[in-house]
Structure formats: C-alpha cells, structure tokens
C-alpha cells in the first residue's frame, strides 16, 4: 500500500466533482423521472459507479497489488452469495405445490403485510 506514487489533487478533484454530479443525478431521477420498475436498478447502478470511483481512486485500489484486490473482492463476493441465496429463498417459497391453496393476502385494502392464516 505504500508502494504507489501519490495521486495528485487534480485527480481527486475530478473524481470529487464526478461524485457530486452523480449524486445530483440520482436525486433528480428520483424526484422527476418515472423509471417505473427500473427504479431500483437505476439507483443502485449509480451507487455502484460512485462506489467504484471512491474505491479505485480515493482508496487507491486502482494502484494497489493483487492481494488488496483479492481482499476487497472476497468481501463483495460473499455479500453477493449471501444476498442472492436469501432472495432466491424468500422469492420462491410460494412456488411449492399446495402452498397456494390459501394465497398470501396482498390486496391493498387488507394492508401491506403478507399474511398466512393457517
């Protein structure tokens, strides 16, 4: 981590301005643009770009050796595994045969919380 040359303030400034612009963009889209079902995808894509900028430049990942990349990558990989398995589980529970005889109540007049009355 001590091997790389100092990054210049000019580089930091460009990244900083880019980060502020991306923040403005994501707030603007949320307030004024109807992205429908892509809302989460758009917001998380912008957040990921910002994270890459911070990690690569501010945290010097771009200038670091393989071991640092491996540590960071391991964290992200295990997070991805955890999230995908949890969401796979919860989103496919109703596919089990016999499970739909008493459907989960989702109509708006019955409130927001899914209920299983059995």
């Amino acid at each position: 981590m001590a091997a790389h040359k100092p990054i210049t303030p000019a580089t930091y400034s460009i990244v900083y301005v880019a980060l502020l612009l991306l923040t403005t963009l994501t707030v603007f889209i949320s307030e004024y643009v109807d992205t429908g079902a892509y809302e989460i995808a758009v917001a998380l894509t912008i957040a990921s770009i910002k994270t890459l900028l911070v990690a690569l430049i501010f945290m010097h990942l771009y200038y670091s050796g393989p071991l640092v990349w491996l540590s960071g990558g391991a964290g992200v990989l295990f997070l991805a595994i955890m999230m995908s398995l949890f969401l796979l589980d919860y989103n496919t529970r109703d596919w089990t045969p016999g499970r739909n005889e008493q459907p989960i109540v989702t109509s708006k007049d019955q409130g927001y919380l899914p209920r299983r009355d059995h």
């Binding site: 100092p6 707030v27 501010f58 927001y112």
Partner: protein, 234 residues
C-alpha cells in the same frame, strides 16, 4: 481484511432489508416517501466532501506537508460532524411526527402530550397518578401518520408495515452513525497528534492512509444507504 468483515456486517443488514422490502414493497416505498431526500442528498454531498478532504490529507502526508495534513484532517472532522448534526436533526423530526418504532409509533410526540392533558382535565384529580396507564389516554389519541395523500390516517395493518420499514431505517442509519463516531474519534486523535508530534503522519503516512481507508468505507456504505432508504419511492 477488516473492511471485508465490515462489508458483511452491513451486508447482513442490507440483505434483511432487501428481503423485507420484497415482502412489503408498498410500506417501504411509503417510508422513502416520508423521508426528506433533499436533506439526505445534502448529507451525501457533505460526506463525499469529507472523503475528498480525507484523500487530500493522505496526499499531504505523502508529500510530507504537515500543516496541510493538519488542515485537511480538520476539514474532514468538520464535515463528519456536520453530517451527524443533519442526521440528528432528521432523527429528531421523525421522532416528533411519530415515526420512531415502538409503542407510540404512528402518534405525533406532541399529539400524545395533548391528548394526555385533555384526559387529565376531564378526570378526577385522585386518579392523576394513574394517568399514563389509563385506557382513556390511549383512546383519545389519533393516529397522525398519513398515507401518500397526506390526509388519510394509516390503517393499523399499513402502520405495522411502515413501522417495520422505519425499524430498518433507524437500525441502518444508526449503525452507520456509530461508524461515523468511531471515524471522527480516530481522525480527532490524528489531528491532535499533528500538534504534539512535529513529524507525525509525514515520516510514515501509513496511519493516515489506513484511517483514510476506513473513512472512505463508511462513505461507501452511505452511498448505498442513501438511494435505498431515501430514493426508492414509487
């Protein structure tokens, strides 16, 4: 390595949030609707600024300029504290309008006092000591949290979903703020040391660099917290 464990620490909370959100999409988007995206965006900008000054502090340490290092550490501290002040203001507002999960969720803080006073006025003075637990005090209160139209009070079921959403909101922002306090403490120690040790940070910039990594990590967490909690409102 430590930061990798931290990813999973916050990751667990984010995963639980994602699961609950897929189960109650409407309640969670209503919760986003009730948060102030302008204040959240302002806080994002402040935190990004603090990361920028932190990066410059590392640069100052690398180029062996201690007075600049002191300046940028001080600025980082200032923006970090500024972030917490705005966060505290938001939390206070949410408490006031009754969005703090718990027994009084859905009832405005002052509305509660008001109803309590009315009840006291009507009843016998001998029962004053029991006012807090009397059923009349509860019955007189009105749910003050409304749906998207700003008029209709929420039904108990919807209130339950919203309470779950706000429980996650307070847990995630609370854990993040705790990390901010740790970061500010570390930066504060570094900052003070630059006054007492003339060569601190410039002979060996590793302490500054490592603290900087932690600071940037907390910033990255907020980069995800902000859109997830504040911006997904449709």
């Amino acid at each position: 390595m430590f930061l990798a464990t931290e990813i999973l620490f916050f990751g667990g909370l984010f995963t639980a949030y994602a699961v609950m959100r897929t189960l109650n999409p409407e309640a969670f988007s209503l919760a986003s609707y009730k948060l102030n995206a302008v204040l959240g965006g302002l806080n994002t900008a402040i935190l990004l600024t603090s990361s920028f000054t932190m990066a410059l502090a590392v640069w100052a340490a690398q180029t062996k300029n201690q007075s600049l290092l002191r300046l940028f550490l001080g600025l980082t501290l200032f923006f970090g504290c500024f972030f917490l002040v705005i966060k505290a203001y938001e939390w206070h507002h949410e408490y006031e309008v009754g969005l703090l999960p718990g027994k009084n969720f859905g009832y405005a803080a002052h509305g509660h006092d008001h109803a309590h006073a009315d009840d006291k006025h009507m009843s016998d003075h001998a029962h004053d000591h029991n006012q807090a637990s009397s059923p009349g005090a509860v019955a007189a209160r009105q749910i003050t949290v409304t749906d998207r139209d700003g008029k209709t009070p929420l039904t108990p079921d919807k209130l339950k979903g919203l309470q779950m959403a706000f429980l996650f909101y307070f847990m995630i922002t609370g854990l993040h703020a705790t990390h901010m306090v740790v970061g500010i403490s570390v930066m504060g120690i570094h900052w003070v040391w630059t006054f007492f040790y003339p060569r601190f940070g410039v002979d060996d910039y590793t302490p500054i660099e490592v603290s900087g990594l932690y600071w940037h990590f907390v910033d990255v967490v907020w980069i995800f917290v902000f859109p997830i909690l504040y911006l997904l409102r449709h």
